[in-house]
Symmetry: D4
């Protein structure tokens, strides 16, 4: 149930079309529905403006199926699933309508939203290896109806590649900078634009990258204004936050 | 020079009031002015929408005075200085017009901007000890003309204090959550609102807080959507970013 | 041999039914029995009130069988085994009576205790992914005869799920809070109840969760009273301690 | 307001001595009182069974005075203050009735509770240097009316010192084990008793103790049952939790 | 070539049985022989009193065969190989005379030394899981002709198991304490004996053991005298050092 | 396009052989060519003196093929590929001319440069296990036309092996010191020579080597002059830098 | 009471000069004497062969005086005190006979042992800055009657300084290698001698030495045999252990 | 004694002006001179091409004076001293000829070398706070006779400041990039030049900079070729290495 649906319900009450008691019951159902192993937050759309997202990494295929069936049986037209393992996707595909992108491990159960997309989110990566994380961010943002521009492999070691795209960056309402290794991309971009930059450190690298720690610390210490950071490899988090900012 | 000033200049050129050559010279001066120990970015207002900020912590009082005098002698009406030590403030006060807040170590040289403030930035802290960092964020946001609501000492150990302020949080366009120790404030707030939450870990705590590391990691791992993180104790960074988002 | 058995033995001596010498011999056998690769603490029931538990992770199936056969051949009716790999369980099952829960890797050799359970231990998890660890705690507590209430998937990002269960929490004699990622669950619960809260960080998460370190530090820095912490993923330790507290 | 006071109030309502409206108002005041820089949780006694405790380390003397005056002006007979710096104590002493223990930095404003103490909490330290933390735990537990037995300087390097006190340990309802350096005390004690052991790592040590990290990790990895851990140097937390368990 | 062989050679020179030139040539060959990928230190027996040991972990089976064939073709009667993978052992076994212990991954190429063993090295482990590392130490010490007493599964959580073996410990010339998890064994033993204790942290454990880091730090911070520490899981290093001390 | 090619082009313009427009177009193509997933820096030879190198670890075989085909179709005679997995090499080998060294995972697509090599780069390793990283450095340096002397297995535990090669080291223009474990090799060599020493920590080791961290920190703290450090296992980086220094 | 004194006592019993009861009482007093804040281990001489040592760092001057007066009033002729702050030394000097070395912070209360010293302990340092720690080791070893040879400032960056002292090292029964920064000294020395090497990392250094962590890890990863490690800056521990080994 | 001096000596021998014996004696004195607390390496000029440098941080003023007097009394015309505390400088200034730069804590005892300087070393800093470290590098390089160009405050957050100095960078034979916080400067510069880049992380920053760790890791993970790294704040090491490379 989203805000519009709630407003409609309350108007029906006002008009006498729905009894107070019935409305109360429907609203009292809102908080969540309990499957035992999961409490489904069916009115997150109401509280936070977007439907609940299912984190696929730590659930069994059977748990996932249970959650999806429950959600799609209600008012929910589609559900975004992150970090869905290929095996789990293979299990789900014959059982629920499912779009699955193997690179980013993003899936959409139910109807995949279509359309142009609003605003302008630019997603840049330092290298080719950062693309899966960037793609997780991009598909998330597109799922929520945003327009996304991809700017891949523009790492700071070849600064002219970034400079040549200054115009693309300048038009962004929000930029997502995805980089592993030394993670300098976020600082350099933030110095070039006047919009928020969401930095996503990735675990791309080896040795003293320590699984993305080097990029994470680098981004947290950015000397440029307007930068904030999400967890290592958290493309979804960046895409979700960018959606919030882009739609303001 | 900010965007309005630049637009005005270019319109003067269009009208023939200013020669192309003179305009070109003024614009060519933009990149920065070089004091040897510092390269002052006088047109950051143009590129990023806001004037340059001076990081006070690693400069001598004499260097700071040089930078401020140079900036205030130009088009810059006021300069924000962060992490200004009390001794440096005492040195500067008789020499330049200066507002100084000892708690947050924020200073404003030149004219302190006045007025109501736009939008709605809510700044919440977990405890009383987090107030200096929150204040750094608040004064930064207010300096740039934002309306700020302070919600201090609403840590998660007494969750009802936060619940009672749900309405205040619901009206925010962006929330800054400032917390040390376990840093759980950001996650809980993010679950209650539908706007971006900027998480600021603080070094408040002892033992296994490891100077703010515990809060930092906690915030990076937030299981709630819409959270991003800045450096430990980086109130300025949070205020600056909140300003960007709030004004969208 | 547990306290009751020892008391019975000593009473038999007092009554002259058992000679002092025979009693001394039986008691002198108490300390442990030595299998070479393991020294079995057969009178832990006497010293600590509960039979010894076997840590299954670092022993070969053959060693485990040797230990179990030895223990079950004595006064021990059943043995709890933690972190038993599926392969080891498959090896043991045809050889000793064995209950095995694959999710939590808990096994019980010998007679599985039955019955209602005393007191009230509430076990809450932040998410679905934390259930295996919670289940380890729950089965441990139930093995020792405690009543356990499971409250799964009540993480702080949807704080109302927790609030709705305030009454369940209020009735607990001790709460076990199991959470990965940012681990904020323990602090929030501790602020809602007036009983001890045992916090169990889990390795659920990725990137800057660093295998559970983020949740661990978060829980250690809890600003709420009554919280103490066990090792990452140590559901057994939490269940064992909860048993102690619940039976007081 | 504690549970007894609340029950009394509600009984007065039942008897008609207090109007429902007046009772409601008094109860509605419960959540907290807001001093701006602090939200005082005046009914923590109601929710958690004990009055609020003031963390002295991150508040100015003036803020502390404000909080104490406010609390003592209400139903609160006394307030426990932890980590109170000597300077702050010197500022408060002429202004509010104050007991102050410089070693542990524990203070009690208002009436210091007297009397025998109930139950049996044993507090053991590895060395002489751990005594300040142990004393913080001891004074906290005594403040809440518990009987405390001190067993100082019984570190594992001279294991006979601990063995000689086996009888003292055996009588404990809960043990607090306070140790720095290698922190082995908690494991050894837990192997000797059948009650909960609260482990407090301390920052006593140098070099690879890394400010208490070595003791912390050691205690978290205890191979003995019934051990849980609080933050480094967190004597208060241990004393508060021991109080909960001891009174069960 | 060992010290005795060298002395014999020099005596032959003195007696005129070997020319100075020939002796010089044989001695000039001592430093090492170069296989390209390895420089074999054939006179380590001369310098350090023991033959060279081959670290098996980072060499291919072919490289290992080359080294062993070269060494055994000279004056070397046997070679100790550590951390030899089962696959490499299977490759070597048909090609050189080889004793291989799969548990500790210790191998001996050539003649395995026999006999009683001198002195008295006691090797204690905290648990059953530490036995592979202890065995690496034991086989190393036995290879060099030492008498070894094994005392396995005597961890501090059941301190009486250790106490019961006080007499065994008291007779040791040097003790090797092998323990994972909290690593407290070394401190407790060092408080019971008056000989050197070599502490070997192991990677046995999970969660906050961080691959043996907890035990390592614990042992480095031992508050008992006479303890020194080798690398995590370095049973060989402990056995080699114990051999040096035991033979003094 | 390298500097010579650019100079030739500009001379052609000067002579009138190539129109300004055509030259401009060819130069405007320089920055990079965009394959979507990669932006190929075809004029790195111009900017940095050497052709672009392809980091093979985080690209799919298909992406790699696309990049190589594009580059070899232009002015590029050969491309160096680092960290190429054997599976990717097997995919590429039938499709492009490829030299592949499985030990170091270095590949060269196109024509492998031949010839003597200039200058003198000495590459030393502490042990046999460090050879794959050393080989990555050696093949890189040889690819760029340098003369390389290999000095393997000269670790500091047998310091005479190093001393005996003092003359080899003395002739070096630059030394690459490759070592895992304690990483002392770099310091000792730097004390023996008067040329730059590039230190490469490797992940060879176990336990407290923490994946090469011990060697990395050791090398960064070298008390000898002329030492600088590259990432753990970064043989390519060392070889590339040595090439720069050797050709000066 | 040391072993000789105990033997004498028991012989007196045998001869009838001391009654069994009196002897039992004197022995029953052995375990320790309890000052409340400290439990003095007066018969450590009996158990471990040496008198108790007082760790001065975490005790007040008054506590130290109490301990020393108590010990010196008994059979103890002298007491070694480590890490005694200058202020505490100044407090003690007029009250007990005291030798104090300000550089190493070692003090000896009572009679300072004199004489030649037995055996041969060589103490080497990497640099001049490591001397205070080395001196702590040297004075400890000399206090227990060992002969000590000091070899200071022989760090590996000038390897010839170490080579020139090969003969001095060759005569050692045990070597203590004291070094900060990269800590390579221990490995190089261990490759040159055939006796045990006790490695003492020091906190000398800056930046990535992380307070001695770099040297500690380096020494733990030593690729040379016979090396073991004590805590950072733990000169006392090294001297105490060297005494044990040297006297074998 | 440097190479020229040695060559002159040997030529004198050849001409018969100096006897072989006298020359041998002078050369045999070379290795070092022993002051007890320091072994002075008087012929480092011969081995490494430059005179010894004195690390001032861990020596007493008296030790420093002893070393300087000894060195200046010989063939050494001047000595470079790093990290000399102001107090030590004040002690030395009246006793030896001394140049002292308080900002970088660099001192030169004896004759300060004059002259133009050869080659071209560019030293860039990210911010004003990095200047002390940069100055340590610059004065070191100038001491050895190099030409140094300072490019301060060109951090990546204002990338145009760096771009504007592309020509300056392009002329460098070696660049030293000095930066704290996120340390991205080294990568960006390395992408712009074709000469070696020596990266110096600094401890400038706060919070998650962890004393320079963030910049250190960032620089080690640089995705640009030709970068190597020295210790945090090690300006001297960078200057010394740059001197080596610049003079090639």
């Amino acid at each position: 149930m989203n805000k519009e649906q709630l407003t409609a319900l309350l108007e029906s009450v006002e008009k006498g079309e729905v009894s107070v008691r019935e409305a109360a019951e429907r609203i009292s159902l809102l908080p969540y529905e309990d499957l035992g192993y999961a409490k489904i937050d069916t009115h997150r759309g109401l509280r936070q403006g977007e439907n609940e997202v299912v984190y696929g990494a730590s659930k069994t295929p059977e748990q996932l199926l249970g959650i999806l069936e429950h959600m799609l049986a209600g008012d929910t037209a589609s559900v975004l699933i992150t970090r869905l393992a290929p095996e789990a996707a293979a299990y789900l595909e014959p059982r629920v309508p499912l779009f699955y992108d193997a690179l980013s491990k993003i899936a959409i159960a139910g109807d995949r939203p279509q359309g142009e997309g609003v605003g302008n989110i630019v997603i840049a990566t330092g290298g080719t290896g950062d693309i899966p994380v960037a793609q997780e961010a991009a598909l998330t943002a597109e799922y929520y109806g945003n327009r996304v521009v991809r700017l891949y492999d523009v790492g700071v070691a070849g600064i002219h590649r970034l400079m040549d795209n200054a115009a693309v960056l300048a038009k962004a309402k929000v930029v997502i900078a995805v980089a592993g290794m030394e993670g300098a991309l976020a600082s350099v971009i933030a110095g070039m634009v006047s919009c928020p930059v969401i930095a996503v450190p990735t675990s791309v690298g080896y040795g003293a990258s320590f699984g993305g720690l080097a990029a994470l610390l680098s981004m947290l210490n950015s000397c440029a204004g307007g930068v904030s950071v999400v967890n290592i490899d958290n493309g979804f988090g960046a895409g979700y936050l960018a959606n919030m900012i882009n739609k303001m």
